[in-house]
């Protein structure tokens, strides 16, 4: 049965959990589809993650390969396709714990960068898994800065081949997933040389392992890069190339080609490359950042309703830790953020779809805005969610540190998202570049993209709030965020200008402003998130129960942001000291209100127990029983440890007698 402490939380929900779930999914039909996919996967024992926490790196990798292979069969059986509506739910259901994710990147890069003939040759082979692909860009000594890559591809006119080389150790390809053990082929990014001239970075398809016995091809040194904080199931690899020859046709040549005589031809716009990056960044927000935060909130909040500690009222039973203000202040803002970022993901998806339609019509005007937003939000959301997951982990006391809580692996996995697909600081600076440019344009009356028109709008100098309830008005707090974002962007732009005018070189001036620029970019994204949340809530009219609780969450998200960054709002006196006390009061009041719906709000995320894989977060709240049962299954309790015979016994009996 359900733990009564959890059951009682569910009886008092102020809204329909099922309706909220459907809304989050984008309709009841989607919910039904998602549940069907999740059920089909979870019913299949091959996809079980039951022993995951006890497995070694080798075992994790093998299980991931086995699942990936089995998934092909399963999809065929169920009639699912990678393009179908089920695909996004499949990934959610296997919790990312599967091999060959880079195989899909390999295929996508061929589809985007390859000519029609190349697509016709490679895609069918890849879809049939006649080969397994990877994507080798990052090198040991080089990441973000593509021009700095050192791998070379020299065209040999005599044989019509490219000769690929890793000239030094820092040029070794390092990190690509699926490459350490699985891949037979990979797309290698290398500096192209023709007749001694360097043409910059280009992609080449290189076979690295035999299709017969999987041994390494001549000239190839490849392997696994060793244990990491997580992703033990993925064989991130290294690759060294020694005079490896590939035919001329293996350079992906939709945009540029080396002709048989060595003539280099460029065609079409490469802007589409930006579009690919943009799409990857947007697509990872939901699955890699928001979903883990939702899971962490589910685990921590359910556990906090079950865990009792100390007394709130003398003589009474120990209190649920969820009733402590400090606990609410840790967890509920994270819950609000999970909702806020779920909605920002919808916002970005919509923007992206619109941009995509334009780009298909060869109109690239929306690209800069899309690129800036996707960079900034990728950075802001992954960073926010990462720290949110860690807060959840540490809010679970000692048990949070047990792998069986599920929280450590959620954390060690989500932290990687702050680095991959663009290091967050660098991404924020890309957004900042766009913001400074837009601000300059706006202040000289030029037209700017829709998301930054606010930079030109007339602003009030003082926040009009008179009492603490005024701060529950979206107009009041959205305006405060807008004011703060404009101030940070305009003051940084001004400082940049000042430095340049005082004779500092442009690049130097930029470096000297980067701390502020990154802050300004975050402020912009924070503002858009608050604004989008408030606007979405407003549109919810018809669904009363849901709108009310979403309004509370929106208020909490906004006020938490002010409460945690008081300085930037107080700085020019926009919010006064007295008003700041009102913000704090309103914010703390909200915690007590949302507390009542906390468990239903995480129930609405609708994670199955299997997908949470947590002894603390199960739906029935039987925390302690489960923790005990799972611990007993630990191999450390089953196998006889050789340590006793080898070391403990001599220690306890003989060795020390001589002392």
């Amino acid at each position: 049965g359900v733990n009564p402490d959890l059951a009682s939380e569910r009886q008092t929900a102020s809204f329909s959990v099922e309706k909220l779930t459907a809304w989050l999914d984008g309709g009841a039909e989607q919910t039904r589809l998602r549940r069907a996919v999740v059920e089909a996967i979870e019913r299949d024992p091959v996809f079980s993650r039951e022993n995951q926490y006890f497995q070694s790196q080798n075992e994790r990798y093998e299980a991931a390969v086995r699942k990936a292979v089995h998934l092909q069969k399963k999809m065929h059986e169920m009639g699912w396709s990678h393009e179908g509506p089920e695909s996004k739910y499949i990934y959610r259901a296997v919790a990312g714990d599967i091999a060959f994710l880079l195989h899909r990147v390999f295929m996508r890069s061929i589809s985007v960068l390859g000519s029609d003939e190349q697509i016709a040759k490679w895609i069918p082979l890849a879809s049939q898994y006649q080969l397994i692909g990877s994507y080798a860009q990052t090198e040991l000594g080089h990441g973000t800065y593509l021009q700095g890559l050192e791998t070379t591809a020299v065209f040999d006119v005599a044989t019509q081949e490219f000769i690929l080389n890793t000239p030094k150790i820092s040029a070794m390809k390092w990190w690509p997933g699926d490459m350490g053990r699985s891949a037979t082929h990979t797309v290698v990014f290398a500096q192209l040389y023709v007749h001694g001239k360097c043409y910059g970075i280009h992609p080449f398809i290189v076979q690295i392992r035999s299709l017969q016995d999987h041994s390494l091809c001549p000239g190839i040194i490849a392997g696994d890069i060793g244990p990491k904080m997580n992703f033990e199931h993925i064989d991130n690899g290294y690759l060294m190339l020694q005079n490896v020859r590939v035919p001329r046709e293996n350079m992906l040549n939709k945009f540029c080609e080396v002709q048989p005589d060595g003539t280099y031809v460029r065609r079409g716009s490469q802007k589409i490359n930006y579009f690919t990056m943009t799409s990857v960044r947007i697509s990872l927000i939901s699955g890699e950042a928001v979903t883990p935060l939702m899971k962490a909130c589910t685990i921590a909040i359910r556990y906090s309703a079950v865990r009792r500690q100390s007394q709130l009222k003398p003589g009474e039973q120990e209190a649920k830790i969820l009733d402590y203000q400090t606990q609410q202040e840790k967890l509920l803002p994270q819950l609000a953020a999970a909702y806020a970022f779920h909605l920002i993901d919808d916002y970005l998806q919509e923007l992206f779809d619109r941009g995509y339609r334009e780009i298909q019509r060869k109109n690239f005007d929306t690209l800069p805005e899309l690129h800036a937003l996707s960079s900034g939000f990728k950075a802001m959301v992954t960073q926010y969610c990462t720290s949110g997951v860690e807060i959840c982990l540490r809010a679970c006391g000692g048990h949070g540190y047990s792998l069986l809580s599920g929280l450590p692996s959620l954390y060690t996995k989500i932290i990687a998202s702050c680095i991959y697909e663009g290091e967050n600081t660098i991404l924020l600076l890309q957004t900042a570049r766009f913001l400074v440019k837009s601000f300059m344009a706006a202040s000289t009356g030029q037209s700017v993209p829709p998301s930054v028109t606010y930079l030109a709008a007339a602003k009030s100098r003082k926040c009009p709030a008179k009492n603490k309830s005024d701060f529950l008005s979206p107009a009041i707090y959205t305006e405060a965020y807008q004011h703060m974002a404009v101030r940070l962007i305009s003051s940084t732009a001004a400082k940049l200008q000042d430095l340049i005018q005082s004779g500092v070189k442009k690049h130097d001036a930029w470096n000297r402003c980067t701390v502020q620029l990154a802050q300004a970019a975050k402020a912009h994204c924070h503002y858009i998130t608050v604004k989008n949340f408030a606007e979405t809530v407003e549109k919810l009219e018809s669904k009363a129960g849901i709108q009310k609780i979403m309004k509370h969450l929106c208020d909490l998200f906004a006020l938490h942001g002010i409460f945690s960054n008081t300085g930037v709002f107080l700085h020019d006196g926009y919010i006064s000291g007295a008003q700041m006390d009102m913000v704090t009061a309103s914010y703390l009041d909200l915690l007590a209100i949302i507390r009542k719906d906390a468990v239903p709000l995480v129930d609405a995320f609708d994670f199955t127990d299997k997908s949470l894989n947590s002894a603390l977060g199960c739906y029935d709240g039987q925390v302690y029983q489960r923790l005990y049962e799972w611990a007993r299954k630990s191999p450390t309790n089953k196998q006889i440890s050789p340590a006793y015979e080898k070391y403990l016994k001599p220690l306890l009996h003989n060795t020390l007698s001589k002392l």
Binding site: H399, I419, T514, L588
Partner: protein, 666 residues
């Protein structure tokens, strides 16, 4: 051969330093002689072939446990062989043997033996101490239960006295009462000191400690009535067998209750202990160790990240020029240098608490407990403040190393998982902050009622005079000089005073609404935690500043003054709201502070590598390919990766089992 070749970037960095790192190392160690002795012990361990082993990153949990047990037993023998008995020297030895990681005998050495010394009667010492000293008895300390941690009164394990047999009957009545987490319990120990609710003559007498044998001497099998095992994999702590213990009508003789203070007589009569304040002393001591540990763990992470940032080149700063060291980017400096300053600050705070503890523990033995409450309150908060900051700082250092930070070869993941539980153990941090807050509110109340308070909270005495002279506060705004650490201490003091006062007033307001005391406290607890944080922050700035005047070498003092300023100003720039709202600083001053922080980054830049060299971590102890002293990062990453377990065979078994059959089928 490779050792002689130092990476050119690092060589240049070291040549450009404005001070001698050794001199700073001596200050950190507490004198040149201490440094010499530390390095002597370090060499003793690191040159000893018995303490060598494969890279732990490639071992399974069970193998890591095995290595740790092997080294621990050797360690105990060798410590005695070498006659090392000074607690600090033992700490060093252990830390070099286990390279800063926990080990299965930690609880035996750190809790079981000391508890016997302080709480056992002479007769009990005769029976247990020497066998435990000789490791015939290996013990642990079982307090925490699955359902209960911080709140000791909530523990459920019972020990019921049976006068008929003169035994205690121990029971774990519920699942939540199972002892959970004690280190060394899972596989290693054959005894445990168990904390249980004592029942005698039908009455509960509260928590008491009992020596409970749990495994058969000889076979190491659990005794009848005892269920014991390992609690499974954790976030780090792989070498530690944290365990569970369930007792079913398990009987121990009356003489196994630790009876130096409280006693149960043969007929079941309970004799009360005299004072329980003494246990404070141990808590203060352990928490002071965590402050030192915060400093060391953060120093290790900073060493790795800063050396790597000097070696790593990326992107371009000036068009057309080669890729610069990433340490030249302002954003990178802004991530790392405040943490470097923090690591130094925490070193000095840790040393201060240790000294104070040593000083007043003499008084305690004389029966003078007057200074204990303040020290207890202060260490609770500082334990939380430093461990939270270091925890976040270690992660920041890892992220500053980009993708490679995520590889276990960077060593930072290991530092992080080893350190992060200290936010929870020995007092959950939020609870610790609220303990400090309780002391602050008490002091504030004393001041409001006309009494004066002393020690670190004496700034609260000024509050009453401020209320009489409101212009006093206004006068402060112009008096803060942002280049003078002493003046910044005053600014932090004013901030702490304001937040303590605000929290105390909010608490009074809640109390007036006729809520229960506990309820009012709970509704103010977010404010109270903020007040405690501000108080701790003030103490850290104050102690760092005070340290500067003790430093005789001008070059070292100059560089530490820069760090101290950075620490103080960065703290302001991260908490501008507090300083603005209390009118301690103006908008214009805040802008200056932000600007000054960035100037200091550029100034500290040239000494950054020398400042981490001064921490003087040996490469073996650091355990990081990215943080190697010689900076030869990339070739060693490759060497390291080749040893990965996945690389043991050229073609992985999964190819034959899964890949090939699939390719055949599709």
């Amino acid at each position: 051969r490779r050792k002689t070749m130092m990476n050119a970037d690092l060589r240049r960095e070291r040549a450009a330093a404005t001070f001698q790192p050794e001199l700073l190392t001596h200050i950190l160690d507490g004198g040149a002689e201490r440094t010499r002795r530390r390095k002597e012990i370090e060499a003793l361990v690191l040159n000893d072939p018995d303490f060598q082993h494969e890279d732990l990153n490639f071992l399974s949990r069970s193998q890591r446990y095995e290595q740790a047990i092997r080294k621990s037993s050797l360690m105990v023998m060798k410590l005695r062989e070498y006659g090392i008995a000074d607690p600090e020297e033992i700490y060093w030895f252990k830390s070099f043997v286990h390279r800063g990681r926990p080990e299965p005998l930690d609880l035996h050495l750190g809790m079981f033996l000391p508890t016997l010394l302080t709480q056992a009667t002479p007769e009990q010492q005769d029976r247990f101490f020497m066998p435990a000293w000789n490791l015939e008895i290996i013990g642990t300390y079982a307090q925490t239960e699955m359902g209960h941690g911080t709140h000791l009164r909530g523990l459920e394990t019972t020990a019921t006295y049976d006068p008929a047999t003169q035994e205690f009957i121990l029971n774990s009545p519920t699942v939540t009462s199972i002892k959970w987490w004690p280190g060394g319990l899972g596989k290693t120990s054959n005894h445990a000191i168990v904390l249980a609710q004592l029942y005698t003559q039908g009455q509960c007498k509260g928590l008491h400690a009992f020596i409970v044998p749990i495994r058969q001497l000889g076979t190491h099998e659990p005794l009848p009535g005892i269920t014991v095992g390992d609690i499974g994999p954790k976030f780090g702590y792989d070498e530690m067998d944290n365990g569970y213990l369930k007792m079913d009508n398990f009987r121990i003789p009356r003489e196994n209750m630790l009876m130096k203070y409280a006693q149960v007589e043969p007929d079941g009569t309970y004799v009360k202990p005299l004072s329980d304040k003494l246990t404070y002393g141990t808590m203060v001591f352990i928490r002071s160790l965590i402050v030192g540990d915060s400093a060391r763990s953060l120093s290790r992470a900073c060493t790795i990240a800063i050396r790597y940032s000097a070696v790593r080149h990326q992107s371009e700063l000036k068009p057309g020029e080669p890729e610069p060291q990433i340490l030249d980017y302002q954003t990178q400096q802004y991530k790392l240098f405040p943490l470097l300053a923090t690591a130094y600050a925490f070193h000095f705070v840790g040393a201060y608490i240790k000294d104070t503890y040593r000083r007043i523990s003499g008084d305690i033995n004389e029966g003078d407990l007057s200074e204990l409450p303040e020290l207890h309150a202060l260490t609770a908060g500082l334990k939380a403040f430093t461990s939270w900051t270091a925890n976040a700082g270690i992660e920041e250092c890892r992220m500053a190393c980009g993708g490679h930070g995520y590889s276990r070869c960077s060593g930072i993941p290991d530092i992080y998982v080893t350190f992060t539980p200290s936010c929870t153990y020995e007092g959950e941090n939020t609870v610790m902050m609220l303990q400090t807050a309780r002391f602050l509110v008490k002091s504030y109340t004393q001041v409001s009622s006309g009494q004066r308070v002393t020690g670190m909270v004496s700034y609260l005495n000024d509050l009453s005079s401020q209320r009489i002279q409101p212009q006093h506060v206004a006068a402060r705004t112009v008096t803060v000089r942002i280049n003078d650490p002493v003046s910044l201490v005053e600014a932090y003091k004013a901030r702490a005073a304001r937040l303590v006062e605000a929290a105390a007033k909010n608490l009074q307001a809640e109390l007036k609404q006729r809520k229960s005391k506990e309820d009012a406290w709970n509704r103010t607890s977010v404010d109270l935690v903020r007040a405690s944080e501000a108080h701790c922050h003030y103490v850290v700035v104050k102690l760092f500043t005070a340290k500067l005047s003790e430093i005789s070498n001008a070059a070292v003092r100059a560089v530490l003054t820069e760090l101290c300023l950075l620490y103080a100003l960065y703290g302001i720039s991260k908490n501008t709201g507090d300083f603005l709202q209390a009118s301690i600083l103006t908008d214009a001053q805040i802008t200056q502070v932000n600007q000054r922080v960035k100037e200091l980054l550029a100034i500290i830049r040239r000494n950054a590598v020398a400042l981490v060299d001064s921490f003087d971590f040996h490469d073996v102890h650091l355990g990081s390919v990215l943080g190697r002293y010689d900076g030869n990062v990339y070739e060693n990453m490759f060497e390291w990766a080749k040893k990965s377990p996945l690389n043991k065979t050229e073609v992985h078994v999964s190819f034959h089992k899964h890949l090939k059959p699939m390719q055949a089928k599709l």
